[in-house]
């Protein structure tokens, strides 16, 4: 099997190429830019450097409807610009892969220190209700593997699938075995074959229906069902059991790499599919008295977990791009003494 030393962003490219990427449209931004430059010149992949991220995602929508597998890659500021059209892609049921290599925000923040501040933006950044499938790997090998999953889930759900990364793992170099994973075929006939109307308006049978609450609810329910059912085929997480421990730590992405250090004292759970949230966490969490979420933001996923588990969850919030083992250890110690004991009945 072919093994290569690759940077995280390069691993995404390797996988995308094998998964059948046909067009990439993007706009430069660190720490995602390598994906744009290193795709240029590849046979069979069209690359468009657009005038901004809004144009990039719309070019992707057009090319996807026209029959190609498409991808764009950006970081927080560009991801914010894409939000309106992410909602559009959900409404029009357009498969695509969006890579968001997170850096410290809000705004220009600390370019280009890593962060995990786009969790809620990825889930809820566009207006209205939609149900995105979101993966967040924690190694170069996983960026490679889950890029295939992102392309496949996009085809299966006919929706934009988000692959989160961060400045650390996208710029990390690790050895990757370039395995072949199953590849989904294009699931939709391309433009120029029919008389369909793709619209962001609420619609029924490809016709706008703009004053029927029933039609809207039906459409939403269909979109939700499709994304949720697809996501069940992609239930990715890592659980490191610890029968001695009374506390379960939850972490993902770059930070979860540091959290492995604490596996002797704690049990660890790492969701790889962040949304829809992995249901298995409910059962795992019920075995521990305390739950602590560690994340490089002010608690974005922690609140989601509280809602999922209906219990109080401790938070170690680490914004600002710093990952320091001593700091994490001290914060965990301090927090554990304060947390009330509870075991949920699930």
């Amino acid at each position: 099997m072919l093994k290569q030393l690759l940077q995280g962003n390069q691993a995404i490219i390797q996988a995308a190429e094998r998964a059948g990427l046909g067009l990439f449209a993007g706009y430069p931004i660190t720490p995602a830019s390598e994906i744009l430059h290193e795709l240029v010149g590849k046979k069979h992949i069209k690359v468009l450097q657009m005038e901004d991220e809004i144009a990039s995602i719309n070019a992707c929508i057009g090319a996807s409807l026209a029959g190609l597998k498409v991808m764009t890659a950006t970081s927080g500021p560009g991801f914010s610009l894409m939000q309106e059209s992410i909602g559009l892609a959900h409404m029009m049921e357009v498969p695509m892969v969006i890579i968001d290599v997170q850096r410290v925000g809000p705004s220009t923040g600390m370019p280009t220190f890593p962060a995990q501040g786009d969790i809620i933006q990825a889930r809820h950044g566009s207006h209205g209700d939609y149900f995105p499938i979101i993966f967040y790997p924690n190694s170069v090998e996983e960026l490679y593997r889950y890029t295939f999953s992102a392309f496949n889930a996009a085809e299966e759900s006919l929706s934009p699938v988000i692959l989160l990364s961060d400045g650390y793992i996208s710029h990390l170099y690790e050895t990757v075995e370039l395995k072949d994973y199953p590849i989904a075929q294009r699931s939709m006939p391309p433009l120029g074959t029919s008389n369909r109307h793709f619209t962001g308006l609420t619609h029924q049978d490809s016709r706008p229906v703009t004053s029927s609450p029933e039609a809207h609810r039906e459409l939403l329910a269909q979109l939700q069902k499709k994304c949720t059912e697809t996501s069940r085929n992609y239930s990715f997480y890592e659980y490191i059991e610890n029968t001695e421990a009374d506390t379960l730590l939850i972490a993902f992405g770059a930070l979860s790499r540091a959290v492995y250090q604490f596996k002797d004292k704690y049990a660890l759970f790492r969701p790889i599919r962040l949304f829809p949230m992995v249901e298995e966490l409910k059962d795992v969490a019920s075995r521990y008295e305390h739950i602590i979420v560690l994340e490089m933001n002010a608690g974005q996923y922690c609140y989601q977990i509280e809602r999922l588990l209906h219990r109080e969850v401790g938070l170690v919030s680490l914004p600002g791009g710093k990952i320091d083992i001593k700091e994490i250890s001290d914060r965990l110690q301090g927090l554990r003494q304060k947390l009330p004991k509870q075991v949920s009945v699930s």
């Binding site: 070019a59 929508i61 057009g62 559009l88 433009l191 120029g192 029919s194 016709r207």
Partner: protein, 249 residues
């Protein structure tokens, strides 16, 4: 089928009526587009129409072929994505002046720079029609709108200059000069690079009646009397309509 109605094969008659007000010029532009497709004897599966948001933006949904109704201002980059993915398709953007020149203006600048082979038909009613009649990028100087009660102080967007700066195809017509309008669209569709057809069209409800026109007919008569056809100009004057010369083509 009689020749004069063959253009109807490009329209979804079952989706009619359109949401447009009585007297609105948009229907004439829609029909002219269908007639131009017919004149070129295009295959329905060869054409894709893309619109943005606004009254004009609803046009895409009335074509009996694959069409896309994207977000406000984003028809051009979406169309560029389609064209890049499948260069055999004729990709037509059919949208409003606010959509293409206001919120989407930056995309137009860059699409002309790239000279992406698209035909862009701009319904220039000089107003944001759908949202009730606010000033648009093409609203004339001193015109009163909801947002310019004292008269518009901003110079209208010189779209001709922008299109021609990058040596793309530019033509202008009105909803009074229908045979000319069709001809402009046909020539635009024949052009190998980016082509832009600026269609002066009446929004009677949210523009015309506020600036003193009694009805749509009066607006059309104004177009008739005000505009002269000049199909061989380097650059059209304000009161001219026509197909401008495109160097090197």
């Amino acid at each position: 089928m009689e020749d004069t109605v063959r253009f109807k094969r490009f329209l979804k008659e079952g989706n009619l009526p359109t949401p447009w007000c009585p007297g609105c010029g948009n229907g004439q532009v829609l029909k002219s587009l269908a007639q131009a497709f017919e004149e070129l004897n295009l295959d329905k599966h060869q054409v894709v129409v893309v619109s943005g948001i606004g009254c004009a933006g609803r046009s895409a949904g009335f074509f009996d072929l694959d069409s896309v109704h994207t977000a406000h201002g984003r028809a051009i980059p979406l169309a560029e994505g389609i064209k890049t993915a499948n260069e055999n398709l004729k990709v037509v953007v059919s949208s409003g002046d606010g959509d293409l020149l206001g919120i989407g203006g930056n995309h137009l600048l860059h699409a002309t720079r790239r000279n992406t082979p698209l035909t862009i038909v701009c319904y220039s009613n000089e107003i944001y029609g759908m949202t009730g009649g606010q000033a648009s990028p093409t609203t004339r100087l001193n015109t009163k709108t909801l947002t310019t009660p004292e008269g518009n102080r901003d110079v209208p967007f010189n779209v001709q200059a922008i299109i021609k700066a990058h040596n793309c195809f530019y033509a202008r017509s009105t909803t009074f000069h229908l045979p000319h309008l069709k001809k402009c669209i046909v020539e635009a569709l024949r052009h190998p690079g980016l082509s832009f057809v600026d269609v002066i069209t009446q929004c009677i409800v949210n523009n015309g009646r506020r600036i003193g026109f009694k009805d749509a007919f009066e607006m059309l008569m104004y177009y008739k009397n005000n505009y002269k056809i000049n199909d061989n100009a380097e650059f059209l004057k304000d009161n001219e309509i026509g197909i401008t010369r495109c160097a090197g083509v």
